[in-house]
């Protein structure tokens, strides 16, 4: 079926629209998401078409946004909250980790709080302080939250709808530097899935699965969100040197699709994890641990991580040296191949 060409931002916008058309309980909440359409225009046009009652400009108070979204969810609504930038999620961190993540469990399963928290994240856009961070591991570390991140317009379109349909709270990290990347998007598959009687469960399960973005034999590059494109570029260059790299797009950090990573690790024997977040205590550390636990005797080399440093995100003129780039990825590939 022929898809439409969309940007990642446009695909998420289309996914939000589809979710709002499907379910009148879906509400959007956030700062500047109304008439302005969000600072990245991800909600462009939705205020005009659905009105201020469903596309709600909120006071400038992140804890308040998430806290009232929880109350609306308890009342049967499905709020989709936009946190304007990654570095400004922290006023809401308390509500997310002490209330949102726990209410289902502490009610013995009687309450559900299906709130989606959308977070434009990661760097590479030359932004000022607090606008380029990657705090995803903090949320993946918290039981009760699902954490996912699309890398392609198709996943942006599908996964935002799956996140909204999920009965669990979802942290939906959007790689802002990829917002303008284009790709083909088919609308029918996810619509069919969500129309199934157990569509919400099917959607939730699928959202937790990784995707093989490129097949290879010699080394596995594990990436997600903003680094998937980088991993694919590195794989193309490596190929010219005779190294066949497989690229796994994780799509989800909680749950983490261990099976997909371990399967690939057993095949290639070498794993490099790439993310923008600091490597120390990051998702790469978890992946490395799981690979060593489950594929130890298949490994030819230690798992390497390429990521941000244990340093405050630097000024925009330095971010090219803070962020993983193709040279650092290829350097890591060289080192695991050399073993």
């Amino acid at each position: 079926m022929a898809g439409e060409t969309m940007t990642l931002a446009g695909a998420i916008n289309a996914g939000l629209r589809a979710a709002m058309e499907r379910d009148p309980k879906v509400l959007l909440m956030g700062e500047d998401i109304g008439a302005l359409g969000g600072v990245f225009r991800v909600t462009d046009g939705l205020h005009k078409d659905f009105g201020g009652d469903r596309v709600m400009d909120t006071p400038l108070a992140e804890s308040g946004i998430v806290g009232t979204a929880i109350g609306l969810a308890l009342r049967g609504y499905r709020p989709v909250v936009e946190i304007q930038f990654d570095g400004f999620i922290f006023p809401a961190y308390d509500q997310i980790t002490t209330s949102l993540s726990k209410l289902h469990a502490r009610s013995g399963g009687t309450l559900t709080v299906p709130v989606v928290v959308r977070v434009p994240y990661a760097g590479g856009i030359g932004a000022i302080e607090h606008h380029s961070e990657s705090p995803e591991a903090l949320f993946a570390h918290t039981a009760g939250l699902r954490v996912c991140t699309p890398a392609t317009p198709q996943d942006g379109f599908d996964m935002i709808q799956q996140a909204i349909a999920s009965p669990d709270p979802v942290l939906f990290f959007e790689p802002k530097a990829r917002y303008w990347d284009k790709g083909e998007v088919g609308r029918e598959r996810v619509a069919r899935q969500l129309a199934e009687p157990d569509g919400a469960l099917l959607a939730t399960a699928e959202m937790g699965h990784a995707r093989v973005a490129r097949e290879g034999a010699d080394v596995t590059l594990v990436a997600y969100g903003p680094t998937v494109r980088l991993a694919l570029q590195a794989a193309s260059v490596a190929e010219q040197d005779g190294v066949s790299a497989e690229v796994i797009d994780l799509r989800s950090l909680s749950p983490l699709d261990s099976d997909a990573v371990v399967h690939s690790a057993k095949k290639t024997g070498r794993v490099v994890v790439i993310h923008e977040a600091p490597t120390a205590y990051g998702a790469g550390a978890e992946i490395s641990a799981r690979v060593s636990e489950q594929a130890f005797f298949h490994l030819h080399a230690p798992v390497l991580r390429v990521g941000g440093f244990h340093a405050q995100y630097p000024g925009a003129k330095y971010e090219h040296d803070y962020l993983p780039n193709i040279d650092r990825v290829l350097d890591a590939v060289d080192r695991v191949i050399a073993h």
Binding site: P59, A61, G67, L72, T98, R106, G108, D168, T204, P255
Partner: protein
């Protein structure tokens, strides 16, 4: 009394003096007009049962049967007066000390102690009682209450044209919570969205050991006024005034007029929790001053003075309190923890690979001990 600060009695609404005399208030008296002697006796009963349960729970903690207890001692007037207003579609978001309101909402009080025995984090289904779970994160639930109220408004349960159908939310919190960002954000959201929510602040004068003067330099009701929310100070040890003020506030919210802030000025006669030691931060004289203002004693004085508290009724309530305490004791002592694997049951509403893998590991691990016998 502090003449100007947060501990002043400036502007406190009262309808029953601490010596048990009924007084009138031009605006609020009509909101207590439906309090017949029969209803006041019911207030007496609810306050007394709460106190009997409360004292038993403290004893059970002292005996090692509970890990912790949070007494409501002294705050029964504010709680019973306000809680009695809740009806129909109204919804309550408590903090963690509203045991009297829980009783009014039909929560089985002994079951509440599963929380304090370390068996559960939530001990009732909120939907069965229109009474949300206790929240221990100070002030966090005031935002949930505001969001819930915004939802009720959207659902047409406010200003519906049928006053019996209209509903509002009431949320309880303390003086310490007024310093929290979440409470202030809740006031802002409630104000700008005109949410039908009543903020019921029990100023019991202490956040554990810190006096209210460490949270504010003005009466706490000023917090509401600052964001354009009508705010009232009421004598929280006066169950009649607490009822009247809350009755007005809930009617106001249900009618679509918006949020209200109530500061119920009261006194925590007991400890913050059983782990606390109030002798380190307050005087015997203060405690004696407030013992004379006990909300139950003053209602007894009043009902007796109008010859509406028969001895048989008092005896009945006392017997009922003893029964409740006995049942509480027996139930608490009978509870044994279920299998620990239950910790994996409700982490998520839909299956999650990490949880399932860890559950499977834990079950194998536990079986390994059984098999080795």
């Amino acid at each position: 009394m502090d003449a100007v600060g947060p501990l002043s009695d400036d502007g406190l609404i009262g309808l029953l003096s601490h010596t048990g005399e009924r007084t009138e208030h031009d605006f609020f008296s009509p909101y207590a007009a439906d309090l017949t002697p029969e209803r006041l006796r019911e207030f007496y009963r609810t306050m007394s049962l709460t106190r009997a349960f409360d004292n038993e729970a403290t004893s059970l903690q002292r005996q090692g049967e509970l890990g912790l207890w949070v007494p409501a001692l002294g705050q029964e007037g504010a709680q019973v007066g306000s809680g009695a207003v809740v009806r129909g579609n109204d919804y309550v978001f408590p903090s963690y000390r509203e045991h009297a309101v829980a009783l009014q909402r039909g929560v089985d009080l002994p079951q509440m102690l599963t929380i304090f025995r370390g068996l559960k984090h939530g001990a009732w289904n909120p939907a069965d009682h229109n009474f949300h779970l206790y929240t221990l994160v100070i002030g966090a639930h005031t935002l949930h209450a505001t969001g819930y109220a915004m939802g009720m408004d959207r659902d047409g349960l406010v200003a519906s044209g049928d006053p019996a159908r209209d509903g509002a939310v009431i949320t309880y919190f303390g003086d310490g919570a007024t310093a929290q960002g979440d409470v202030n954000e809740a006031l802002v959201f409630a104000s700008v969205y005109n949410a039908p929510v009543v903020f019921f602040c029990q100023n019991n004068q202490f956040a554990i050991s810190e006096p209210t003067t460490r949270q504010a330099r003005v009466p706490l009701a000023e917090r509401g006024k600052g964001v354009g929310i009508p705010s009232v100070r009421v004598d929280g040890n006066d169950v009649i005034a607490s009822y009247a003020v809350t009755n007005w506030a809930m009617q106001y919210a249900r009618s679509g007029a918006g949020p209200v802030f109530i500061e119920a000025f009261t006194y925590r006669m007991g400890a913050h929790t059983t782990s606390d030691d109030p002798t380190r931060y307050r005087t015997k004289a203060d405690e004696e001053y407030w013992a004379e203002r006990d909300p139950i004693a003053r209602l007894v004085t009043y009902l007796t003075s109008i010859d509406e508290l028969p001895e048989e009724f008092v005896a009945e309530v006392a017997a009922e309190g003893k029964d409740l305490a006995r049942r509480t004791r027996e139930e608490v002592r009978s509870w044994e923890p279920g299998p620990s694997v239950g910790m994996f049951d409700h982490v998520y509403a839909a299956p999650h690979a990490t949880v399932e893998a860890e559950r499977a590991w834990f079950e194998r691990y536990e079986r390994s001990f059984v098999e080795s016998y």
